[in-house]
């Protein structure tokens, strides 16, 4: 009975004729490797995102005044709403991660070389689309992080010369973030970019089928344009196996593991946010982007200002141009990573730099913790046995928000150096100068401190050193044991 139905469908759709060129197409046996599972893994994540996204769109309201409410409704009231949100969030993390691994694997296996240049290029456009989905998606979680993150994106867009302001208005659907902005991002995230991705995935898969999957590279087997196609055909005849069912096993296992991974992370960690109503008047907020943009967040904090605009505008263009040009720069030659040290070095350094920047973005040492001045008291052993002037100095240290940038006893900001042993680095005069005039990354406090406060503060800081440690002293003053210590102007001790 079922067979009759199958025949009836096949007589109209001709699916079985399609089978030989799609699921059943021949692949080199060496391509049935664990390294080859990441492409299908990425596609699986995308399908999961579409399904969960549709479910979320049943309830989510893309309106500036209702989005946050609908998100909390999804979290708290909608049956399994929190779980759907969590799957969608973790699905996006997994998708970006697996996609990057897929890209690295393709690069290291030389699969971008002749004749698969278009596959690589379509893949690079898919990378940009996925990052676009990540950015628009995090805006749709319309909370404080989203609001201020959007402002930062608009600010960067505004730095484009000549058309910057117009680009900002195009991006925000107006001059400032308002109701229309969210609708625009919703349309991009739900209709425009997914449509583009679906079309590109179709092209990408079509290319994989028409050109064949990359054979497992072997050191010494080089690609030459004249002979590659014939060699590949011979390889298929020699060790070709149908993809289904002989080479799909590892893909299936990996897909199952990815799904389980997403579900476990979603169940254990839950959804992200929303963190706070997107009310611009609530300014006691510390905006942070999602994890896939933390590296950019760190870069923007660490770059010197004269480099920043140039890099923001030029680096993406150069990077994307290099990516697109790669198959034409290095389209022939060795495929095996063992014979391509430059390729390996490139991948290792990119991942290392990206990973370190992401970690730094996570810790954000440049960001002053705004409550440290009142929340992190001076450790008790820095107060014991001090004179009244020095204790007053400790009070000045706290009240003037110094702790927001400087740590004592391990707590406080990391924007400036820790002050636990500042007396071993700076003399009294140097401390006075530094506090009054600032310098390095430190603002000048001269206008905000009275001379008495400066005296107390520096007196306290001169006690900040390990017991019996050598205190910094002025090298121009000779040290003679029989003479009393010289009085430096304005500061005690």
């Amino acid at each position: 009975m079922l067979r009759k139905v199958a025949y009836w469908i096949d007589a109209r759709l001709h699916v079985s004729a399609l089978y030989a060129s799609t699921a059943g197409h021949t692949v080199p046996a060496s391509a049935a490797s664990w390294f080859y599972v990441f492409g299908s893994g990425t596609l699986l994540c995308f399908v999961i995102q579409i399904v969960t996204g549709i479910c979320l769109a049943f309830v989510y309201v893309p309106s500036a005044d209702e989005a946050y409410t609908s998100l909390t409704y999804l979290n708290d009231e909608q049956t399994l709403g929190w779980f759907l949100r969590a799957i969608h969030y973790w699905g996006s993390n997994f998708m970006v991660g697996i996609m990057l691994v897929h890209m690295a694997q393709v690069f290291l296996f030389g699969a971008y070389k002749y004749p698969r240049e278009l596959t690589w290029i379509s893949g690079c456009v898919l990378l940009l689309c996925t990052l676009g989905m990540a950015f628009t998606g995090q805006v749709l979680r319309f909370d404080q992080d989203a609001y201020w993150g959007l402002g930062i994106g608009a600010s960067m867009m505004g730095r484009v010369p000549l058309i910057g302001a117009n680009l900002v208005r195009l991006m925000l659907a107006g001059p400032i973030i308002a109701g229309e902005t969210l609708s625009r991002f919703f349309t991009l995230h739900v209709f425009v970019i997914p449509g583009l991705i679906l079309a590109l995935v179709a092209v990408h898969l079509r290319l994989v089928l028409s050109k064949g999957i990359n054979e497992y590279p072997e050191p010494g087997r080089q690609v030459t344009k004249a002979t590659y196609e014939a060699e590949y055909k011979a390889l298929l005849q020699q060790e070709g196996v149908p993809f289904v069912p002989q080479a799909i096993g590892k893909d299936i296992i990996f897909s199952g593991l990815v799904m389980l991974g997403i579900l476990c992370c979603a169940a254990y960690f839950g959804p992200k946010g929303p963190e706070g109503v997107p009310d611009p008047t609530y300014i006691r907020t510390v905006p942070r982007p999602d994890v896939f943009f933390l590296w950019l967040y760190a870069v923007l904090a660490l770059l010197p200002d004269y480099l920043e605009t140039v890099l923001i505008l030029v680096a993406p263009i150069v990077g994307i141009a290099l990516l697109f040009a790669l198959p034409f720069i290095a389209g022939t030659g060795e495929k095996s990573a063992r014979r391509r040290p430059v390729a390996v070095l490139t991948v290792v350094s990119i991942f290392l730099v990206g990973g370190i920047l992401t970690l730094m973005g996570e810790n954000a040492p440049w960001s002053p913790p705004m409550e440290a001045w009142s929340g992190a008291p001076v450790p008790a052993h820095y107060i014991e046995g001090r004179s009244p002037l020095e204790v007053q100095g400790a009070l000045v240290l706290q009240n003037k928000q110094c702790r927001n940038c400087h740590s004592l006893g391990g707590s406080g900001g990391q924007r400036g150096p820790a002050l636990d042993d500042v007396a071993t680095r700076l003399t009294g005069d140097q401390l006075v100068r530094q506090v009054i005039q600032g310098g390095g990354n430190m603002p000048a406090y001269g206008k905000n401190l009275s001379p008495a406060e400066v005296a107390a503060l520096v007196a306290f800081m001169q006690t900040l050193h390990a017991p019996h440690a050598a205190v910094a002293r002025d090298a121009t003053v000779p040290e003679r044991p029989d003479e009393p210590a010289p009085q430096t102007t304005g500061v005690g001790r």
């Binding site: 005044d65 910057g164 109701g179 611009p280 300014i283 003037k400 990354n441």
Partner: protein
């Protein structure tokens, strides 16, 4: 045979056949229709391009007495140019600094680096930005960190013992906007016409 050859020899060697002509008409008609369809769609999508400058309105930030001298306070106002569904995004905060007497400075909360909200600390008289560590002095000038320029203050004026600021419709945290003194408030125009006082940056000239 002879007739067919005769016919064949009469087919025009140059010129347009009927089929080609039909195709040309079809293509031309569709080109016109596509252009007529594309124009409003593009106009809709790129409606914001080439718009002439920001529109402005004066917003009251409250009586002068609510701002103690030598202090900086947070004030909020509702964006006068809103859509009905803007919700909380239409509430705009700003830092109001009363220098002394009737000298005011009003700053947008956006850091000039990339637009995060800066926080004021009275004791140290500094604005600290939580995102990338920008710091500004109380007059808005740059103290440390990534921002390249200091904050510029918005146009302010005093009228009827209230402090007003010019809320304009321009994107925040682009290059510091020049404070333009276009007044849209009807009373203010009368004031200027009568040669009465007109204040920029909060100074009372009289």
């Amino acid at each position: 045979m002879a007739i067919q050859q005769h016919d064949a020899s009469q087919a025009p060697p140059t010129g347009v056949s009927r089929r080609k002509f039909l195709l040309l008409i079809g293509a031309g008609l569709n080109a016109i229709a596509a252009a007529l369809l594309a124009a409003p769609i593009l106009g809709y999508v790129f409606a914001s391009f080439g718009r002439k400058g920001p529109s402005q309105a004066w917003i009251s930030l409250g009586p002068i007495d609510t701002y103690p001298e030598n202090q900086t306070r947070l004030a909020t106002y509702r964006n006068p140019f809103t859509r009905p569904w803007d919700g909380t995004t239409a509430n705009i905060p700003c830092w109001v600094r009363r220098i002394t007497g009737e000298q005011f400075q009003v700053f947008a909360v956006n850091c000039t680096h990339l637009g995060c909200p800066v926080r004021w600390f009275q004791a140290s008289r500094l604005f600290l930005c939580p995102c990338h560590g920008g710091v500004f002095y109380e007059d808005g000038s740059h103290a440390s960190g990534p921002p390249r320029v200091g904050s510029s203050s918005m146009s302010t004026r005093l009228r009827m013992a209230h402090c007003w600021c010019a809320a304009d419709n321009s994107p925040r945290s682009l290059s510091p906007s020049k404070c333009s003194c276009v007044l849209t408030h009807a009373c203010a125009r009368d004031r200027i016409a009568k040669g009465a006082w007109y204040a920029t940056k909060g100074r009372l000239l009289d």
